[in-house]
């Protein structure tokens, strides 16, 4: 969607109102340094950047840049405002009533999809992309072709993997597997699965020969029930012995050990981790406070090492990975506690059996205290909070009880010993069979995680492929533009490349005299760097231009010589005829060249008057309007009218001089851009014999009225120039005479018939004419 107008009120150089109307056309706006051209670009940047303008981001511009954005002459009660209107009538407005800007929107404006970096390019930003780090270059290219959406997909998938791990409770299941494996090893040693199945079958034949064989889980349950039934049928002493054996066979020591080991692993990382984490957080806070304008190398606030800003990001990424690993340790610790508490709960049930009463009675006082501890222990509380103190309590109290039971069990009758042993084997077999189911669940979850990881890898590959295509496409455009700007240059094969060691980085590579260079920073001159920067910006703007957004170029040819400036015009004409370009320049020569070479049906040309004061603000040098305004002003304020018409003539005569290729003495430096109307009139008077008006079909006569108007006005303008400088006095008559004279001079260069100025069209033999050929200016 194209730009219709940019309206500024008390914003930057603008006074009560300065409106750049472009009506969807491409435009060239000329103005001397300080005339206010960049205020319009600032306006666009502030709208696209939530009220901020990059080059004003410094300590003197105020919290909301109000000291830089608001015209110093703004009267009290007035607001500062930027309004951008698109050709569909939608608009976006920022208003600074106090200091923070307030945004308002009219209609669904396409501007929400614009980003400043691919919309406007200023002179000082020309080589910014080249100066950027590889990663920042990548960030600049990323929004093109919607890669940021794919980045979001990849990031969400990465997080989803971790969420599946967490929500699937995999650490807990893995801990169960580990316990079951330990138990199996403790009970069965290195026996294979087949040997375990045979053992289960042997137990079934011994204890439950009549049970139907449906599944191993069912068989082991049948065997456990049968053993329990046999134990229940024993006499009281034997039953007590069996229960003591059950206590003695507990793997509580192993489970406590697992918790201690997991806690030790956490302790290894916890303290330094927290300390470093705090350092990194302080560093990140410092970065946030300093803003995004910081560039490396700089001392890393976390470790003091000199690092690039990029490296800091990597530092944060590695910190995130380290924290994830630590989180995993905490998960494992929690799972180990879960397993321990399960066993404590099971022992609690065994201790509650009546058969154990006699054994408990006979315990020594120390063991009785341990039993008391166990009675008072809340298993539920232990599950929610099991700290080092609890572990020490379990070790000091329960382990001696288990050890005592195991010792006592050795002295029991072989029959009971055998039953207890088989009961223990059945429990271990049950754990192994349950572990198989857990293993299947873990496999299922891990398969899902692998699927999501594969998908993430696929999306990253998709990003890389699309990025490569984008880079190739942008590189193709850059090379095409470069050939237009630098047709005979020794720099060739300019392209964006992805470094082999980092797929989230981009660099500009080229050949210099046929030799491959990794970066344009190595070999290019400032002019070449800027030309390359312009090509890259235009290529990226072209790529981002599917919605026909404007391309704004502010004084981008400042470091180009005349030939290369001309080539920029050629490039815009050849490659950007379908796009809306807004070109701002202080180069009068180039402005008039563009006026001659760019198609008038697609381009409009505006001039700004030199900036006079913040009260007057930015003003366009529109002749008809200004002459009329000056005439009207002459009645009430002749001094100001005289001053206005003199400034108007400074610009208008400069334009005429450029159009007819009037030779003027070369001045030093910027003075060439600050010639006065008086200087132009002297040159025009000297050359006025080259001005002709059509007399007949192919015959011309000297344009005497033009010469007469110049002769009459030259001294008047010179007089006012001096008086205006020194005395500031002028009468109504003087003002009206001078304005009429100036009007006559300007009119003599404008065709009455076709309404176009002489010099708008080239004719044969170096002559220039108006469109219909009625006015003609011949070369010297």
């Amino acid at each position: 969607m194209r730009l219709k107008a940019i309206r500024l009120q008390w914003f930057r150089g603008a006074a009560s109102e300065a409106t750049l109307n472009v009506f969807g056309k491409s435009s060239v706006i000329y103005g001397t340094n300080g005339a206010g051209k960049s205020s319009f670009v600032d306006g666009i940047e502030s709208i696209l950047g939530a009220g901020k303008v990059g080059h004003l981001g410094h300590e003197y511009s105020g919290r909301n840049q109000e000291k830089g954005l608001i015209n110093v002459a703004r009267p009290s009660g007035q607001h500062t405002k930027v309004e951008i209107t698109l050709v569909d009538g939608s608009s976006e407005t920022l208003t600074w009533q106090s200091s923070a800007p307030v945004r308002a929107q009219q209609g669904a404006t396409a501007m929400v999809r614009w980003d400043y970096r691919r919309t406007a390019l200023r002179q000082e930003e020309l080589s910014e992309f080249i100066r950027d780090t590889k990663r920042d270059k990548y960030s600049a290219v990323l929004p093109l072709l919607g890669l940021s959406r794919l980045e979001a997909v990849a990031d969400n998938l990465r997080k989803l993997c971790k969420a599946i791990e967490r929500q699937g409770d995999l650490p807990s299941f893995r801990a169960k597997l580990e316990i079951a494996a330990d138990r199996r090893k403790e009970v069965f040693g290195d026996k294979t699965n087949e040997q375990l199945i045979e053992r289960l079958e042997a137990l079934r034949r011994t204890y439950a020969p009549a049970a139907t064989v449906e599944s191993r889980a069912r068989t082991v349950a049948d065997v456990q029930s049968a053993i329990d039934a046999q134990i229940a049928s024993l006499d009281a002493d034997q039953r007590r012995a069996a229960v003591i054996g059950e206590v003695g066979a507990s793997d509580l020591p192993g489970r406590i050990l697992k918790v201690i080991e997991a806690a030790a692993r956490i302790a290894e990382v916890a303290e330094p981790l927290i300390k470093e984490r705090l350092d990194v957080l302080s560093a990140a806070d410092g970065f946030v406070t300093a803003g995004s304008l910081l560039q490396g190398p700089m001392p890393c606030p976390a470790c003091g090492r000199e690092i690039e800003a990029d490296e800091f990001r990597e530092h944060v990424a590695s910190e995130r990975d380290r924290l994830s690993a630590a989180q995993k340790l905490y998960d494992e610790h929690r799972a180990a506690i879960g397993e321990l508490v399960d066993e404590v709960g099971r022992l609690r049930n065994v201790f509650a059996k009546r058969d154990l009463a006699g054994w408990l009675e006979a315990l020594c006082p120390e063991n009785k205290l341990a039993v008391k501890y166990f009675d008072e222990l809340s298993v539920a509380d232990l599950r929610t909070s099991c700290g080092p103190e609890n572990i020490r309590g379990l070790q000091a109290n329960l382990l001696p009880l288990v050890a005592r039971a195991a010792g006592d069990a050795k002295a029991f009758q072989p029959t009971v010993q055998s039953l207890v042993e088989h009961q223990n084997e059945a429990r271990a077999l049950s754990g192994s069979i349950k572990a198989s189911a857990i293993r299947a669940g873990i496999n299922r979850a891990e398969a899902l995680i692998n699927l999501v990881k594969s998908l993430e890898a696929g999306v990253l590959q998709e990003i890389a492929e699309r990025a490569r295509q984008t880079f190739e496409s942008i590189s193709y455009d850059i090379q095409r533009y470069w050939k237009v700007l630098q047709p005979n240059d020794v720099i060739t094969d300019v392209r964006l490349v992805v470094p082999e060691d980092n797929d989230k980085a981009v660099e500009v590579a080229l050949r210099f005299h046929g030799k491959v260079q990794d970066s344009p920073r190595l070999t290019l001159s400032e002019g070449q760097r800027n030309a390359l920067g312009l090509c890259i910006f235009l290529a990226m703007a072209n790529k981002a231009g599917s919605d026909d957004r404007p391309v704004i170029l502010d004084d981008v040819v400042i470091s180009f010589d005349r030939e290369h400036r001309s080539r920029v015009g050629m490039l815009l004409r050849q490659e950007f005829s379908e796009r809306q370009i807004v070109l701002l320049t202080h180069d009068r020569e180039w402005f008039f060249e563009l006026q001659r070479t760019l198609p008038v049906n697609q381009w409009s040309f505006r001039r700004l008057r030199p900036f006079f004061s913040p009260h007057e603000g930015i003003l366009f040098a529109d002749h008809g309007l200004d002459i009329a305004a000056a005439k009207a002003r002459a009645k009430t304020d002749p001094e100001e009218a005289l001053g206005n018409v003199r400034r108007l003539m400074d610009v208008a005569l400069g334009e005429i001089a450029e159009r007819i290729s009037l030779a003027v003495p070369h001045l030093r430096g910027d003075d060439n851009d600050h010639r006065t109307a008086g200087q132009f009139l002297v040159a025009l008077e000297r050359a006025a014999t080259r001005s002709f008006r059509k007399k007949g079909m192919d015959t011309y006569e000297p344009h005497t009225s033009a010469l007469a108007a110049i002769k009459k006005t030259k001294p008047e303008l010179a007089i006012w120039g001096n008086r205006g400088t020194h005395t500031f006095s002028g009468s109504i008559t003087e003002a009206e005479d001078l304005i009429s004279g100036c009007e006559a001079v300007l009119s003599s260069f404008m065709c009455d018939s076709c309404g176009t100025p002489v010099g708008a069209y080239d004719s044969t033999g170096g002559k220039v004419e108006c469109r219909c050929g009625s006015l003609q200016w011949r070369p010297e």
Binding site: R149, A152, N156, N443, L448, V452, G458, V459
Partner: protein, 66 residues
């Protein structure tokens, strides 16, 4: 098939081929859910709680088909 649907399908088929094993075959609901996520809400950054909820849905879908 749109461009988005096309690349999602291509990547999903490749990911399924890479992660299918003898031990596990994914129920149809799993790729269907992932397809929907990729074409929709995953194209914008999601909050941790949303990701957790999606993870639970996927775990459940992956279990239900067994």
């Amino acid at each position: 098939m749109s461009d988005t649907e096309s690349w999602i399908e291509r990547r999903l088929v490749a990911a399924l081929a890479a992660s299918m094993t003898d031990r596990h075959l994914f129920p149809d609901a799993v790729p269907a859910e992932l397809r929907t996520l990729l074409a929709g809400q995953f194209q914008e950054p999601r909050k941790p709680a949303e990701i957790d909820s999606i993870a639970i849905t996927l775990i459940s879908a992956n279990r239900d088909g067994q």
